[in-house]
């Protein structure tokens, strides 16, 4: 493990980091699935109120690392991690940390829209209910309306809040999932290829939404589309074979990458 090639990490430029503080920081993270070494010696600092995108070929570990940030890998019995990840300076792998509270702070949107087989209203109210955020029905109604508005779905569904969430189109379902995630007022939103199951129009809407949400949240998005990374993110991280190859300002990364592997990938020479 000591022989592992070290990742070249370009620190985010002052331009991006000046007005933003570091939200998530990973130090020497290694993740294993059984024998498979999925993430190798990864260190990274992710800023607040910006979109950071993870790109890289399939199986490079970007989703694995994303799932480590809200400890979703805990649900996989064979998964093991060393090193540390902090949120606002506090370790999320601390023994005393309550993983339920952590996940309330770090929302997640999945690749395939996964609304619950409940009504649209119940889907959004799910998180606030289990966390006891609202005390009254009116308060809950407000949270549902506000979340759906922020997710840009309110106008389309306000007359059918009692219809099943699974009856919506794919793009609407994904916006419903985003609404459910922001209903618990998270601070960080993780998105695992949120547009890969959607058509270009629905994708454009989600990207607009991501752009608006970055005013208030720290957003990390895993994507297979380099165009999408270039469009929505301020910072880009390139993963290859479990190694973080390069991390920096998105515009610099796509115009003047530091690493040959990054250049090969973004110009389509492999991947």
């Amino acid at each position: 493990m000591d022989m592992m090639p070290q990742a070249v990490v370009t620190p985010p430029s002052p331009r991006i980091m000046a007005e933003r503080q570091v939200r998530i920081e990973a130090r020497d993270v290694n993740i294993f699935y059984g024998e498979k070494h999925a993430i190798k010696n990864l260190s990274i600092a992710i800023p607040d109120r910006a979109v950071s995108s993870f790109i890289g070929p399939s199986g490079c570990g970007k989703s694995t690392f994303l799932r480590a940030i809200n400890r979703m890998n805990d649900t996989i019995p064979t998964c093991r991690m060393t090193g540390d990840i902090t949120l606002d300076g506090n370790s999320i792998y601390d023994r005393d940390l309550d993983v339920v509270q952590l996940r309330a702070k770090i929302g997640m949107v999945f690749q395939k829209p996964n609304p619950f087989p409940k009504s649209i209203y119940e889907n959004v109210a799910y998180g606030p209910r289990i966390h006891g955020i609202s005390n009254s029905k009116t308060e809950l109604d407000e949270i549902v309306e506000k979340s759906l508005k922020r997710a840009g779905l309110w106008e389309e569904v306000k007359d059918r809040l009692n219809h099943p969430g699974t009856g919506l189109s794919g793009g609407q379902q994904q916006r419903l999932c985003i609404a459910s995630a922001i209903a618990v007022s998270p601070e960080v939103i993780l998105m695992d290829e949120p547009c890969s199951a959607l058509d270009p129009i629905a994708t454009a809407r989600i990207e607009e939404l991501i752009d608006e949400l970055k005013q208030n949240y720290c957003i990390v998005i895993v994507t297979h589309s380099m165009q999408q990374a270039a469009r929505v993110s301020q910072l880009t991280a390139f993963f290859h074979l479990g190694i973080l190859v390069e991390f920096g300002d998105t515009d610099e990364m796509f115009t003047a990458p530091q690493e040959k592997r990054t250049q090969d990938y973004i110009t389509g020479r492999f991947g």
Binding site: A104, F110, P117, K118, G127, I130, T166, C177, V184
Partner: protein, 392 residues
């Protein structure tokens, strides 16, 4: 003779396959017209024709001469040869052997399912006809509303109410036992148990399902019933030595594996993405199970319960031994009761004349039982259909 006939037909079919395949292969010449079907299909087509000929001729011979006659293999051979001779010349390059063989496969499949369906229809009709004969001798009103069941006394009395109440009482107790036990152990196995634990537990539970009901019956009568009686009397209750409670408890244990095994499969079929969505929102494991997994699995769980209820209603041996034969109209679980199935069994044990109301009443009871389970199955089916497409 039948063994020889089957053997002979198989040999002829293999021969036909090879002959058809060879002839079709010979048609394949360079520059000649392309074969519509592969040679294998020509062989299969010829073989299926030969088998059909053998089966039809053989069955006709069985009907005419009986199974022992030498005519059976002879007829089968003639039928096979005739079919083969008629079909062999049809093999040509443009002949659509593949399509015809597909139709043969379809016909075989339809025939197999038709046997099951026709048997069911036959049983239903025989029960219905005998029930009609019974109702010519005993008024349906008496049957449905009289509270007295004594088919052997004179004058005999045929009131189904005590049996119906007894059946429902025991089934209710059984579900009260098996429902929570089965469902909760299914949740444990599907959501909490480690892979190794599950691989030990599940076969063990299914072994419980493999215990013959006769064994469970004498366990109920000789162990559980005295236990209930003893503990009941120690706190001053009158308990019959054969009680509905004993039968219901043991019957509940019998259907625990049915409910837990089916529910376990159903819970496992709930997509992991729903659980992930719930966990990512900060829900705990039990919140996720209560609010997401169980609602999504509900239709399947309900139909598992319905199956279990049908099973409990139809169960006989445990009740014969543990609940007794006394047709008391009572909902006291500590009293001796009897059920529809038990009465059917006792009515038809031994030598019977088939036109007395006593024997015929068994058919009427069977008919009621049949309507009962049919209704339950229908309800289960509707529930499943209503909620099936909820997650996808």
């Amino acid at each position: 003779m039948l063994v020889w006939t089957v053997l002979l037909a198989s040999v002829l079919a293999v021969g036909a396959f090879l002959a058809g395949q060879t002839r079709a292969s010979a048609l394949r010449v360079a520059g000649g017209p392309a074969l519509h079907s592969l040679p294998t299909y020509h062989g299969l087509f010829l073989a299926s024709g030969v088998i059909t000929g053998a089966v039809v001729a053989g069955l006709a011979a069985i009907l005419l001469f009986g199974t022992q006659s030498i005519a059976v293999p002879a007829a089968a051979a003639i039928g096979a040869a005739g079919a083969g001779a008629a079909l062999y010349p049809r093999i040509a390059s443009a002949f659509r052997a593949r399509n015809l063989f597909e139709r043969f496969v379809l016909a075989v499949l339809v025939l197999c399912s038709a046997v099951a369906v026709l048997t069911t229809i036959g049983i239903v009709f025989s029960v219905v006809f005998e029930t009609i004969v019974f109702f010519r001798q005993v008024s349906p009103l008496e049957f449905l509303f009289s509270a007295q069941w004594s088919p052997t006394s004179t004058p005999a009395s045929f009131g189904i109410l005590p049996l119906l109440v007894g059946t429902l009482l025991i089934t209710f107790i059984a579900i009260l036992v098996a429902g929570p036990l089965g469902l909760l152990s299914a949740i444990y196995m599907a959501e909490y148990a480690s892979g190794r634990m599950r691989s030990v537990l599940k076969p063990l539970l299914e072994m419980l399902a493999g215990i013959p009901t006769v064994v469970l019956g004498f366990f109920a009568a000789l162990t559980v019933a005295p236990l209930i009686r003893g503990s009941g009397e120690s706190i001053g209750l009158t308990v019959a030595s054969e009680s509905a409670l004993a039968a219901g408890l043991v019957m509940g244990m019998m259907i625990v594996p049915l409910i837990s095994s089916l529910s376990d499969d159903i819970i496992n079929a709930v997509p992991q993405s729903l659980r992930d969505g719930s966990y990512a929102m900060g829900a705990t494991k039990s919140e996720t199970i209560k609010r997401v997994v169980l609602p999504a699995a509900l239709p399947g769980i309900v139909s598992a319960f319905m199956l279990a209820i049908s099973r409990a209603i139809g169960e006989t041996m445990i009740v014969v031994m543990a609940a007794g034969l006394a047709a008391n109209l009572s909902i006291n679980p500590l009293a001796a009761v009897t059920t529809i199935t038990v009465q059917i069994a006792t009515l038809l044990v031994g030598d019977q004349e088939f036109d007395s109301p006593k024997t015929l009443s068994a058919f009427a009871l069977g008919f009621v039982l049949f309507i009962f389970t049919l209704a339950l199955n229908y309800i289960a089916l509707r529930i499943v259909q209503k909620y099936r497409e909820q997650y996808d």
